[in-house]
Point group: C2
Chain length 336, copies 2
């Protein structure tokens, strides 16, 4: 098994180009200047034999693997996957390949994943949001070059790629307010998550700036998933506090909210307006299409990858804070 492809080595092309292995290595890596003549000879041989350097051998010798580890928490959650796509794109063109490990939210499994990655001598790490404690990630950051995608950890300046959650939430809330809503609910993500905290802060600030008093009965904590959206509506209805709009901290929760409202026979947006956060691909196709705060997910992933590569090359790189964009669709309308 295991085939015999990848048989031609640096030695073969050395012989063919009538130079030493060292010289071949040199032109391939541009380490030192080589006579133009020999250089072309080598390049020619490489082309002729369709030579592919053996990444492992190179890694062994050079002490680096040219791989970056990608630590996901729950691959196959829509937002994360969009970011992931960006990572793949950002890595393309670089010499690095991504190797994956999924923690599945399970602490033990996550440590296992990290172990695997480290054992493989990944040169750097891209860590995906999730529930991993900030501390754990900081510890990791001390051991290996690392960038965090889709999440903001204060103690890791210029190593996190994320959006301005505060501004996005502010914008969403303000939009609802300007539509005439006053009793605006905010369904938060897991509040142990900084992003959720920031969005909550944005919501509150907008309410205050609009001269509204904060009613904590209008805030419900969810966990970013659909189910928590339906639960939230039930909670709200139970509380009996009237409301005319709901700003959900994630599109997935907005889906759940919409369904729960439907079950209760409450029309959207006629009776209650909904605004989400993320702008997942399918949010443009819900009924009604969801008004939401767009995060440039792909761009985030891409930036994370590029930042990490730059870091590995000791090149300077400033990670920008991305801004969100309000995508107006039909799930929210003027009140009254």
């Amino acid at each position: 098994m295991a085939a015999t492809r990848q048989n031609i080595t640096i030695k073969d092309i050395a012989r063919r180009a009538k130079v030493s292995k060292s010289t071949v290595s040199r032109v391939l890596n541009g380490t030192t200047a080589v006579a133009e003549e020999k250089k072309t000879a080598v390049l020619q041989a490489v082309a002729d034999l369709n030579y592919q350097p053996n990444v492992m051998a190179r890694g062994l010798a050079a002490g680096q693997s040219l791989t970056v580890g990608v630590l996901t928490q729950n691959i196959s959650s829509p937002y994360n996957d969009a970011v992931l796509l960006g990572v793949l794109q950002g890595l393309r063109g670089s010499d690095y390949s991504p190797i994956f490990a999924d923690g599945s939210w399970i602490l033990e499994q996550e440590e296992q994943a990290i172990q695997t990655l480290v054992a493989r001598q990944v040169d750097g790490l891209i860590v995906f949001g999730g529930e991993t404690p900030d501390e754990t990630i900081c510890d990791l950051a001390r051991q290996v070059p690392l960038v965090v995608a889709g999440r903001n950890i204060a103690k890791l300046p210029n190593q996190c790629v994320y959006v301005n959650n505060f501004a996005g939430a502010y914008q969403a809330t303000q939009y609802l307010l300007e539509l005439g809503h006053e009793r605006v609910v905010h369904l938060t993500g897991k509040l142990s998550h900084v992003d959720a905290q920031e969005r909550l802060r944005g919501y509150r600030q907008a309410m205050i700036d609009h001269g509204l008093s904060l009613d904590e009965e209008l805030v419900v904590e969810g966990n970013f998933q659909e189910q928590s959206g339906v639960l939230a509506v039930e909670t709200l209805l139970l509380r009996g506090r009237p409301f005319t709009a709901i700003f959900a901290g994630s599109d997935q929760m907005a889906y759940g909210v919409r369904l729960a409202l439907y079950r209760r026979g409450i029309r959207v947006p006629a009776e209650v307006s909904i605004v989400g956060f993320d702008d997942l691909g399918s949010s443009a196709y819900t009924t009604p299409p969801l008004t939401t705060v767009r995060q440039p997910a792909v761009k985030i992933g891409q930036t994370a990858a590029e930042a990490l590569v730059a870091m590995l090359k000791n090149e300077p790189y400033i990670i920008p804070v991305f801004q969100t964009e309000l995508i107006v669709r039909e799930s929210a309308m003027r009140y009254r």
Copy 2:
């Protein structure tokens, strides 16, 4: 940079355990029997020094990388991602780690991706559906051990993991028929895709078995994406052929269908019933929740990974054909 972690080598633990490097290697790989005494000594040393074998060195020496390449076509499409999750799970526990490369549907980029993977000496490949021509995949299969996930290629027996699309489609159509519908539309996926063909076949067979004549005006070709769902409805309305139910070849298309119907003021399921295919996570949260044919996506990915690993170890492995399951929710109801 690049840290100095991973400094302890096999030699260190050899010294500490007072044995030769070979012996260490032996107990680590279970290649040959070693004296119980020395074995425990080695294990002890390994534990003491927290030794992690260098995967690259091991790969170089043994001629295998212990990595498998995962070729995706459009990561971040919901169904594929679910399968992907399965792959990760299936690989966990094995000694193999996944390296990703995304073809993005672009032929050139796809070849590039394959190049990358091969250059990294992946021991095997898991290829994701997508539009890659069967031929291309077959060629690949000759060069490297490979398994296809979520797609059926006839010329690669026991190397494809997929569901019984025919049966699933049949089941869905039959369900609609039993509900009293007679003018049942089928919105197909890309018909260049075997899975789409099979589903179409299942639809037709069910219609026939129910004593209905096939009306090709009731079949519309889509491309698995939401947008084609809305287009399809427009097409249908234009054709003027009455219909009371739509069986979409993917949940995503079903979303599009539902939206288009909503736009036209056609109620679901009161006036038109909808059934999808896939059972994406969010399909339980649409309004109304989508009746659909569930594919065990995660299981499919997992099986693909396990099959590949078995293949690489020259162990026998029979890939089962998975069956679908009709998930009855609210988007379809009795006609009349």
